[in-house]
Amino acid sequence: MADPGPVHLTLLMGPRIPVPVPQPVTDALLSAQVTVTAGQRSGFQLAFDLAKHGLINRTLLPAGFFDPQTRVVLVVTVKGTPAVLMDGVIIRQEVGVSNQPGQSTLTVTGEDLTVLMDLEEHELPHPGTPPSARVAAIIARYAHYGMVPVVVPELFPQVTPPTQRVDTQKGTDLSYVTQLAKDQGYVFYLDPGPVPGVSRAYWGPEVRLGVPQHALNVNMDHLSNVDQLTFSFDGTAREEPVVRVQIPATKIASKLPVPEVSVLRPPLAARPAPALKKKVIADTAKKDAAQALAQALAKAAESADAITGSGQLDVVRYGYLLRPRELVGVRGAGITYDGLYYVKSVTHNLQRGAYTQNFTLAREGLIALYPTVVP
């Protein structure tokens, strides 16, 4: 794929330090798919043409070039601007051998580098450290994979004196870090880039701030850059959490006022969807107020997105790469559904001569907060 054009894909592979792959491997690449979802692990799938006497079938495959735990870095250059799509490891490979010449394929599937944090179980005490410090210490152990921790301190300080209780990590690093994030209403994910081989390990609230990406235009004749957009409004998606805590001295249970979600995520819509359901959160009576409050906020934030949108775009027509976990504006969908959205997930579909992205958007209510969408 070394021809000058608007889209250029670069593949790097290697046991620990990824290096550019040989030319025959690039030539054999049939398609690549990368899925990135906010608050979840990213995945990728690469399909190669498996010629009978080709370099892959005769040398690379037996030598372990495509074995599990081989690191894969995908860099895509759109109109001269590079972006790292994926920094991950291969988990499984499938070989489909066909009687038809040219139909045999090698498919490798993998996940991002957080899978390495999910391999070993530990039992580690963390005496007297807040959750954010525990997370930073855990991520620091994976620094040789280019993971750089970006950790946001929790909203309600939760340091337990070691004389009272020692928090212990049980299970894998990933499950513990994800659980800690969930308790705070935070997310944990790896964001590859800005240079190949480096990724940011982000632990904090979803970033619903910043400059929005180039707007998605639909139903606007020649100015449209999206083929189709589908929106849905689910009334039961939003739940209001009810939290009760017990005061240890008096044994009196009292209901905690649920904090406003906007401390975690700034509003994107003028008319937020009402919460139809009320949900009592279990096991909060024995926890201290700060912990219970953080959990209530986490539950409220988790179910706040009642509006979802999905669609597909052609990258060359759109002119940019739609990045997940950032804001984007929508134009042409009518008064109700126009405005800013949070990009919840993006699936990149790369093929020879075609690059499309499937995306889902989310926000908490109807009607745009601002009259215009820039840029």
Binding site: A2, P6, P82
Partner: protein, 112 residues
Amino acid sequence: MTSNPVEATPSPYPRTSRYHGVEVAVRAGHDGRQVPYLRRRLLPRPGGFVAIGEHTVSAGDRPDLLAHQYLGDAEQWWRIADANPVLDPRELTGTPGRKVRITLPEGVLTHG
């Protein structure tokens, strides 16, 4: 180009800009005013680029036309200027017959 591989603060310039990732510094004036400015951006090493094509300059060529033809975006002419390496973009297409290297962006390598 980027002084820090992982940007702690988002750059005020978009990803497609020549100044994305260039550090913002602050200078205190005589009267105590804080004047922010961009630090100097040095041309990258020419060895860090992978060539994907070559263009022979003919009369009437312009850097933005080259960028539109080879990269698909006329605003990316500075990437061609970086790779060749010239400071003044007019120098790129000034002399007909000059060979201009068309490359991938800095740091993107292929077939090592």
